[in-house]
Amino acid sequence: MSSNRFNAFSNHGIGIGLRIPHYEHIFSRKPVVDWFEIISENFMTDGGRPLHTLDRILEQYRVVQHGVSMYFGSVTEPDPEHLKRLKTLVRRTNTPWLSDHLCWGSVDGTYTHDLLPLPYTWEAVERTAERVRKVQDYLEIPVAVENVSSYAAFTASEMTEWEFLNEVVERADCGILLDVNNIYVSSVNHEFEPMEYVNAVLAERVAQIHIAGHSKYEKYILDTHDHPVIDPVWNLYARAIELCGPTPTLLEWDDHIPSFDEVHAEAKKAERYLNRTAPEMAQAAQ
């Protein structure tokens, strides 16, 4: 059962990412949505419309924060200003847990603004886990790390990605945001069996699951979040739910964003799998 200490024992069902093209629909129609995931960085401002919009959302909906720039795997220390702003936002949203990516993206204070993959080495395990632990201690809420989709593998790697993920979360004592689309994308790009990954993940630490679509190119797959979820990804999701139990699930759709109803309907397809394991959670999501 994935109502656990890594998601503050929440009963969150199926959520969708809060995106600007949907604001008008949300405020005028007030659709029933179990929760919204926000990109933390979009609201770490001093004032103005972003925070005003967020406050209006918070009046009616549950919000969970998801970050894109904590870079747990970067060797240089995080920016204190970043952490301070993030904590201020955590207090504003009351997010029950917070997630960011198991990746790196900055060196010596210079940012690439990308989710760059880590080499799966013991050195990276230790450094990354230490940073996750520090951030979790500072924020005083559970932190979940998300597996990223990747296009490059490192000659230095000493273990598989799933072994690396498990080692980091055990040492950091944190949760996992399991992105089954990212597992699928990486499995094609790195030629491994995606179900082996899902089966190996420490199910008791999974705080949340991401589902999404992607784009196929001739020689690789790119994680673009601009398509519906494909069947092989649903299969991975079904297996993850079997292993983890009903888990807060979120559909990401970030580019070529269709109508709110279309995105919401795509997300709610997850109910098929949640229903099999926990009808009460599927019901909460309706």
Binding site: L51, S69, S106, D114, L116, T121, Y151, T155
Partner: protein, 302 residues
């Protein structure tokens, strides 16, 4: 144990990823330090059955540049139109080489573009000064859009102050000094941009990478405030005296000195000063621009 450290991998990869692309959007064959990029990639990235180490690194190289160029284009749409998209992209690459992102958020990426452009005018050719002005206005929009808002002082509260008092300005208020009166031009270009964005599939001119045709604009010192009302950003022209008074307040000068800076610069006759200053502060109080100073900051600066 691996032989290459995490730190070495991250430095090598960041340097490669942030190396500008070729004109065809491919990764360069040569790294900035002269090494073969193929060898650099192979030193830490493993190939697979479909992609070489170079090709795998190239995916990240492209993603980096598409992302940062896209972010600048989003924040400076009028500048892009004024100098043309081709020149804008070249300018952006030059700017980002000099000022790569030092912030966790892309929101701050263009913070130094206007000042950098003043010393790198060749990117904007004959429209260099105009381009700097447009960049200043567009960056003022970004700052005004999500800047903090403090409780403003009322006119009655301001009236109790004397020349030695200190004030502060609303943080979202941006003061912009321009060489050209380009605020209306920027507003029109933003409207056009918005219209194009909502007309999906609209066919643009074949040569829309070229600078746009603009109405003739003559140089004229122009003073502008970008500020926020009800979560929307507006531009307001200021006269020279107002601008210099507000700028002195923002610089932390005492009220008397700030007013003196404004009326002297604007050469306001002594007899007109009391009435004019009253008019200024009445308008600013109504707009909510005047705030109490941050005491900690005041103590540090005095």
């Amino acid at each position: 144990m691996s032989t290459i450290s995490l730190e070495q991998i991250q430095r090598e990869m960041a340097a490669a990823v942030m190396t500008p692309l070729t004109p065809d959007d491919n990764m360069r064959k040569e790294a900035p330090d002269g090494r073969s990029m193929e060898r650099v990639a192979a030193s830490f990235i493993a190939p697979n059955s479909r992609l070489t180490s170079f090709e795998r690194l190239e995916i990240y190289n492209r993603q980096y540049w598409y992302r940062v160029l896209g972010a600048l284009a989003e924040d400076f749409p009028a500048l892009r139109t004024v100098i043309g998209s081709r020149a804008f992209d070249a300018m952006s690459v030059g700017y980002l080489k000099a000022h790569p992102s030092r912030s966790f958020t892309l929101r701050n990426l263009g913070g130094q573009l206007a000042s950098w452009l003043t010393t790198n005018q060749h990117f904007a050719a004959r429209r260099a000064d105009l381009a700097v002005d447009v960049a200043r206005i567009e960056w003022a929009f970004v700052e005004a859009f999500d800047g903090a808002e403090h409780e403003p002082l009322t006119l009655e509260q301001i009236a109790t102050l004397d020349g030695g008092s200190y004030l502060a300005l609303q943080p979202h208020l941006q003061l912009v000094e321009l060489t050209y009166p380009v605020d209306d031009l920027v507003l029109n270009l933003h409207k056009q941009e918005k219209r194009q964005a909502t007309e999906a599939g609209v066919k643009h001119d074949e040569d829309d990478h070229a600078p746009a045709k603009l109405p003739p604009i003559r140089r004229k010192p122009t003073y502008l405030a970008a500020h926020r009302v009800d979560y929307s950003v507006y531009y307001l022209r200021l006269n020279r005296g107002e601008f210099h008074t507000l700028r002195a307040i923002r610089a932390g000068r005492p009220l008397g000195e700030a007013i003196e800076a404004g009326v002297t610069t604007a050469r306001v006759p002594a007899a007109r000063r009391p009435q004019l200053v009253r008019q200024w502060f009445t308008a600013w109080a109504e707009l909510g621009w005047i705030c109490a100073p941050d005491l900690d900051r005041l103590v540090r600066s005095t």
